[in-house]
Symmetry: C2
Subunit: 112 residues, 2 copies
């Protein structure tokens, strides 16, 4: 959507956060979950998601587990131990960033 360009750089953190609270998820599920949680505001495209998942796996932050449901493939991802630690750090950074942006965009916001 028109906003989609704004979340550049935060996709990885969003993935980690979702896996942290959901335990394990597969790619397609993540796209739907984000769409739902943001009421359609954010749409994770598959061209961005799958490479991101592969990269996080390569970095040792995610583990994969392949499953077959209804004769269709699913790749479940979950956080590794290292992934859990990283998630804490990245979430803290993202929260700080969001606060900074709030403060820039609308300083009165925090008083709401």
């Amino acid at each position: 959507m028109s906003n989609s360009k704004l979340y550049k750089g935060s996709l990885n953190t969003i993935i980690l956060k979702l896996l942290d609270e959901q335990g394990k998820m597969y790619g397609y599920e993540i796209t739907q979950k984000v769409k739902l949680l943001t009421k359609g505001e954010l749409k994770i495209t598959e061209g961005a998601l799958y490479p991101a998942l592969h990269k996080l796996e390569a970095e040792g932050l995610l583990d994969v587990e392949v499953a077959k449901v209804d004769n269709r493939l699913r790749k479940y991802y979950k956080l590794t131990e290292q992934g859990e630690k990283e998630t804490v750090n990245r979430l803290a950074e993202l929260e700080e960033f969001i606060r900074s942006m709030q403060n820039l965009v609308n300083p009165d916001w925090s008083i709401n």
Copy 2:
């Protein structure tokens, strides 16, 4: 810094917002203002800022006015009429985005 990658896509909106509330600013001033407002969290690099300013000008959202202070050049930018309208739209989008991110990252946030 470590967070800097997170604000991808929002630089233009930040510029517009600052010009909206400050009236007119020059490039270097913008970098310092952002550093100040975010307590060093966000650092606008010049390699990103100047091309962004030139682009916004080319799009007709900004006007320039050159000045010489202490024998040094300054290029003051201010919003055009069209720029003011665009600022309203982009700010609304950015706020929506921030709300979405808050909801994803920390749903309890809004109750603070």
